[in-house]
Structure formats: structure tokens, C-alpha cells
């Protein structure tokens, strides 16, 4: 009896076109739009790019030329050099076509108009060149083939701080929006959860009344429906993550399996919340639908789907809300994977999701188990 119910739950739910749209098609459309909107921003703004630099040679310096040639031959060259006269160089600096001017004489000097990252890097380069000029000069004279290796080695010391990555995850801040998207799909599962109660409660639909007349225990029907919906939602979550990762090429680092896990549990959380709202006895189906949709969308909004900074504002003023808001918990579980190599934060978020799911499901079953209705 359980598998009979389960089979038809899967069959009927998988054919509800509105579910298919909101749980499969819509996230793909939104994800594609996110990619179009944010994809290039990260690459342009955040990832390192070569620093356009004007070089004015006041006297000939073959070693410096060799060094520059060597740098420009690298896969990701530090500098993009333009040799020019002083007047043109100043104009380039003024127009923003160069971040700085390196004057090459007996010693190097630098001229910049701003103090940003690019200028700091240029300053470090010029300083390091000055410190290591003798080594570089000797290498260039004795074995020019080793020059690039020497420069790379010396470049490691450009910064006083060594970068030690705290995670193997994606550090792209815009990935947060895709995490929000995954959370949104999870929260849309609440509509599936609501659908379960509509189809199983005699006071909500003719189908519910009809089912209640059958000799199948209500709990059997409910569990079959819940399991069927969890599975359907999980498939939707898997598709969403797969699309984001493999089609939109959003990098989840080495954490892809855990992203899948988190998404599936997020989907179960969404279904459970919808199931609880659907079980509230006092309201009509229209009111329940309204409540479910409103709560889901509010939850997504507060998790930063529409406004990335909102989570920070909540953390500052009502931190508890971030700990219990379902969409935020889903988003944070994914965010934790990027932020911490230690999995304890991730596990904590997963446990929170499971706890909310269990609470909602248990409460929903307790309420739905009512055997007779006061009115139909």
C-alpha cells in the first residue's frame, strides 16, 4: 500500500507543470541571468589582471629590459609595459591608461597619482628591483635563461605577508547569489509540501476526502506522499546545482558533493515547512498558500537573494534571525564550505536544517492526524 501511494505520488507530482516550472525551469532562467549579470564583474574587478605601466627610459638599461621582457612572457604577467617618452607617459597616467610611470635611469623611480592596489604592487616591484638589482644583473649577464625563474623567486618576497588559503572553496563573492538561488529552490519546495496536505486532508479537497474514505491508514498515505515529495524536491535540487556548476560554470571548488548534500537537505527543509503550513487547521487553502509563499519569499529576501547586504544588516541587529531563517541557513551552509576548511560550521548548519525539518514534519503530522473534521 505504501509503495502504491509512493509510486502515484511521484507520478502525479512530476506531472504538475507549475511545479516543474518553478522548481526546474525558473531557477535555470534566474541562474543564467545571475551569470550574465555577475559573471564578468568578478573576473574584471576581483581577479588579478596585468597592471598597465608606462616606462620612460632616461638612460639605457638592458637588464631592466630583459626583466620586463621576462615578466611579460609569463602566463599571467604582472605588468603590461609601454615604452614611451615622458610627455606621453604623463598623458597616459592622466587618462588612466597607465597606473604608474617607471623612470629607468641609474636607479628606478616611480610616479603615480593614486594609492590603490595596482600602485602598491608597482611600488613593491620597483623597490624589490632596487634591492635585488645586483642579483638580477649577474644572472642576466651569466645565464639569461634562468632570469625568469630568479625573478619569480624574488617576486615571492614582494609581499611581507604570505597568502595562506583558509579554504579550497570559491572565494568569488558573487557566488553568494547562486547559493541564494539554491536556497530559493529549496524554499519553493514548500509549495510541494503544501500540496501534500491539500491532497490528504478531507477538509481541503475532494481528493483528500476521497482518500480518507479508503482503508489505507492516513499515516501510510502521508508518509508515502512526504517521501515522494522529498524525492521529487531532491531531484530538483540536484538539477539546480548541476546546472549552476556544469552549465553556468560556477566553481564550487572541491566541495561539490557537499553542495549537493546541503541542497538536498535544503529541499527537504522547504517541503517540511510547506507541509507544516498546510497542516494549520484554521485557515482556508487560499490563506495557507498565501502564507507559504509569503514566508518563502521573505525568507529568501532575508537571506540576501535580492539584496546581498541584508544578511550583514540582520547579523548586526537581529542575529538570531539568521540562525533560524531557513533560506539563510541553507545559504550559510554553502557559504561555510568556502569560508572554513573546518567542517564543524557546515555540520552545524546541516543539523539546524534537519532539526527544523523534523520539527515541521512532526508537527504537521500531529495536526494532520486528526481523524474527523468539524466541517468539510
Amino acid at each position: 500500500m505504501f509503495f502504491h501511494n509512493f509510486k502515484y505520488e511521484i507520478l502525479s507530482t512530476s506531472r504538475v507543470k507549475t511545479f516543474l516550472f518553478w522548481l526546474m525551469v525558473f531557477p535555470m532562467i534566474l541562474g543564467t541571468l545571475f551569470k550574465m549579470a555577475f559573471g564578468d564583474v568578478y573576473e574584471k574587478d576581483v581577479l588579478f589582471s596585468s597592471i598597465p605601466t608606462a616606462v620612460v627610459e632616461t638612460s639605457e638599461n638592458a637588464v631592466f629590459r630583459q626583466v620586463i621582457d621576462s615578466i611579460e612572457e609569463a602566463d599571467e604577467p604582472l605588468l603590461k609595459v609601454t615604452y614611451t617618452d615622458e610627455e606621453t607617459a604623463k598623458q597616459m597616467l592622466k587618462d588612466g591608461k597607465a597606473k604608474g610611470i617607471i623612470y629607468v635611469g641609474e636607479k628606478l623611480s616611480l610616479s603615480v597619482t593614486e594609492q590603490k592596489i595596482s600602485q602598491v604592487v608597482l611600488k613593491s616591484f620597483v623597490e624589490q628591483y632596487g634591492i635585488n638589482e645586483k642579483i638580477i644583473r649577474d644572472t642576466a649577464e651569466k645565464d639569461p635563461t634562468k632570469l625568469q625563474a630568479v625573478i619569480e623567486k624574488l617576486s615571492e618576497d614582494v609581499s611581507a605577508c604570505n597568502e595562506i588559503p583558509v579554504t579550497s572553496g570559491n572565494t568569488d563573492v558573487y557566488t553568494q547569489y547562486f547559493y541564494n538561488l539554491i536556497a530559493m529552490v529549496g524554499m519553493f519546495g514548500s509549495v510541494t509540501g503544501l500540496h501534500i496536505t491539500v491532497q490528504n486532508q478531507a477538509n481541503l479537497s475532494a481528493l483528500g476526502a476521497r482518500k480518507n474514505c479508503s482503508p489505507t491508514p492516513k499515516s501510510t498515505g502521508l508518509f508515502a506522499s512526504l517521501l515522494g515529495s522529498y524525492m521529487m524536491q531532491s531531484v530538483c535540487m540536484l538539477l539546480c546545482v548541476t546546472f549552476i556548476h556544469f552549465v553556468l560554470k560556477i566553481d564550487f571548488g572541491k566541495n561539490l558533493p557537499l553542495v549537493y548534500l546541503s541542497a538536498i537537505i535544503g529541499g527537504i527543509l522547504g517541503v517540511s515547512i510547506g507541509f507544516l503550513f498546510g497542516s494549520l487547521n484554521r485557515f482556508s487553502i487560499e490563506v495557507k498558500t498565501g502564507i507559504t509563499m509569503a514566508v518563502s519569499m521573505l525568507s529568501c529576501f532575508l537571506s540576501g537573494l535580492m539584496m546581498g547586504q541584508i544578511q550583514g544588516v540582520i547579523t548586526e541587529h537581529i542575529p538570531i534571525l539568521n540562525k533560524i531563517n531557513p533560506a539563510t541557513v541553507i545559504t550559510d551552509s554553502l557559504f561555510c564550505l568556502d569560508m572554513y576548511s573546518d567542517r564543524s560550521h557546515f555540520i552545524s548548519k546541516i543539523l539546524t536544517m534537519l532539526a527544523i525539518s523534523v520539527f515541521c514534519t512532526a508537527a504537521g503530522i500531529l495536526v494532520t492526524r486528526r481523524k474527523k473534521y468539524a466541517s468539510l
Binding site: 502515484y8 475532494a206 476521497r210
Partner: protein, 316 residues
């Protein structure tokens, strides 16, 4: 004497101040097609919902197959087929899948179920629509699917709650014939309707309900015998003198005469050849008349005489 399949004793159901069922009692015997007749809001569906343990009631007892009916009385539910007033099928499942789903709630053996599903589809004449989704079916075909879902498991007791609402005449006849066939095959049937013609046509016994009360019960002949009217004579007459009208009123077995300027209606109680005696009076006075017809009492007359309101008026 056949055993009672359904026993309802002193049932009371309140919705706040409104009394939906007022000490309602009923006994339905095996093999009957029992009709619950009454206008909308008379308590028919409430009775059915209480009977099925869907609805909580304030007072009374319900027994089905001699056992107390409760929400967890699965052994009783297994023997009941229910066809709801509102079509209760999955929009996303085909005709075959819908019947298979509902049959599967009762029958676990796959081979047996397959046969039962085919039988049910054939019974309601949906063989050519197996792969159709409900939204592609007409109102009549949808009702037939609803019936197939309710009877596929071959229940001993079939409850049909207004199954012909908004159904075309062809489908209605098919449904009514089907119900009689199910009964011939051994099922006891409870049939609720506000269409008295349907109830008269198929029910072996009838309870008339109004305002949550049972106002009469019996076979259709027994019910008709409860009232004074035995024949209503209708004659088209243009210009009828009061003296002639009074003469007709004075005829034996005539207890009421109404004339609206075009149509003379004469109500008779008992007696024979009432029509001939009335026409004799008209001919004696050389009064021209047109169409003449005589009607035997209907359940509407029964309802009218007991409640003072016509069943049809209430529907309006």
C-alpha cells in the same frame, strides 16, 4: 428479512447555531437502492460525511455491516465504495492511472487489481479514454471516471452523493443504468439526489430530508400513499365561469381546484374516472377546452404536501 447494512441512530450535527442533522435515524437493508432525497442544504451530504467518519458529529451512533463506524475502521471502509459529489480524481493521472490508484487503495493483489480496473473502465464505458487526462474529458465522462474510481474494487456498499450533477442526459442515463446493474450484482446502494425523477426511477426505498430531519420514508408508492393527492388533472380552458368551477369543486374526490385564466388544475383524492367526470361538466356547459392531461402524484407532491414548499421551488 435482509440484514441492516447501515444503521444511523439519533444523529445530531451542529455547525454553531445551525442544526445540520436533527436526531436523524435511518436503516438501510442489504440489496436496497436507498434514496436520500431533499433540497440542497437539507443534510444529505452531511449524513454521508458522518456515515464515512469524515465529519465529527455531536450525538448519535452509526453502524455499518453491524459494526461501529470509526475513522480507523479499515475493515469496514474496505467494503465501501464512495462516489463524491465533487469529482475526486488526480488531474495529472490518466483515466487508467486514476482508476488503478483508487483500486490499489483497496486491492493489493496486482493481477486482481488489473482485472478490476479493466472491469470498472468497461463498466462506465471509458474504454476509448484510457490514456486521457481528466481535463480532456467532458463533464459526463468525468463523472463516469469518478464512478469508476469509486466502484473499481467491487464494494458491497456503494454511496453515490449526487453523481449526476451537471451531467448530460446521455451520461445520466448511463450512470443510472449502471447503478441498477451494480445493485443487481449484489451491491447495496445509497443514492443522494435532489432530482426526484432519478430517485423515483432507481430507488427501492426513499427517505425525504428537509432541514436536517427525515420527513418521510418508504417505497415510492408508500410515500405517495402518505399524501391526500392521488391524481392531478390539467385542462387548458379559456374563460371559465365561476359557476362551472364551483360545480367541478363539488365533484366527489375533488379537494382543490385552481384556475389561472388559461389552465384549470383539479386535485383529486382517490376515486376513479375523475378526468371523465370533470370533462363531462365542461361539455355540459359547452365550454371549449384544449390540451388535457392527468398526472399521478410525484415525490415533489409528497414533499410539497409535507413541507408546504415544492422541492423544485427550493432548488430555485
Amino acid at each position: 428479512m435482509a440484514d441492516a447494512v447501515v444503521k444511523i441512530n439519533n444523529l445530531v450535527k451542529r455547525y454553531g447555531e445551525l442544526i445540520a442533522l436533527d436526531h436523524f435515524s435511518l436503516e438501510i437493508k442489504e440489496g436496497e437502492i436507498f434514496g436520500l432525497l431533499g433540497p440542497n442544504g437539507s443534510g444529505k451530504t452531511t449524513t454521508i460525511n458522518c456515515l464515512l467518519s469524515l465529519l465529527a458529529f455531536d450525538k448519535g451512533e452509526i453502524e455499518i455491516f453491524g459494526r461501529n463506524m470509526t475513522p480507523t475502521a479499515y475493515d469496514i471502509k474496505k467494503e465501501i465504495g464512495i462516489i463524491m459529489q465533487n469529482v475526486a480524481v488526480f488531474e495529472e493521472l490518466t483515466v487508467y492511472e486514476n482508476v488503478d490508484y483508487f483500486c490499489g487503495l483497496y486491492i493489493t493483489d496486482k493481477e486482481q487489481r488489473k482485472q478490476y480496473v479493466e472491469d470498472a473502465i468497461k463498466f462506465v464505458g471509458l474504454e476509448d479514454f484510457r490514456k486521457f487526462y481528466p481535463k480532456k474529458l467532458s463533464g459526463g465522462l468525468l463523472r463516469r471516471l469518478n464512478i469508476a474510481c469509486g466502484i473499481a474494487h467491487k464494494p458491497k456498499l456503494i454511496i453515490l452523493d449526487e453523481p449526476t450533477v451537471a451531467v448530460d442526459p446521455q451520461s445520466r442515463n448511463k450512470i443510472l443504468e449502471g447503478i441498477q446493474e451494480l445493485n443487481k450484482n449484489g451491491a447495496t446502494v445509497i443514492y443522494t439526489s435532489h432530482y426526484m425523477e432519478e430517485v423515483e426511477q432507481i430507488c427501492t426505498r426513499i427517505a425525504i430530508m428537509d432541514k436536517g430531519k427525515k420527513i418521510a420514508e418508504g417505497t415510492k408508492d408508500e410515500l405517495k400513499r402518505m399524501i391526500r393527492n392521488t391524481e392531478t388533472v390539467n385542462i387548458e380552458v379559456l374563460g371559465l365561469d365561476d359557476s362551472i368551477r364551483n360545480e367541478i369543486s363539488a365533484l366527489e374526490h375533488v379537494y382543490d381546484v385552481q384556475y389561472d385564466g388559461e389552465k384549470l388544475t383539479v386535485y383529486c383524492s382517490g376515486g376513479k374516472h375523475n378526468l371523465i367526470r370533470i370533462l363531462d361538466v365542461l361539455q355540459k356547459h359547452d365550454t371549449a377546452f384544449g390540451r388535457v392531461y392527468s398526472e399521478l402524484p410525484t415525490l415533489n407532491d409528497v414533499f410539497l404536501e409535507i413541507t408546504g414548499t415544492a422541492l423544485r421551488d427550493k432548488e430555485e
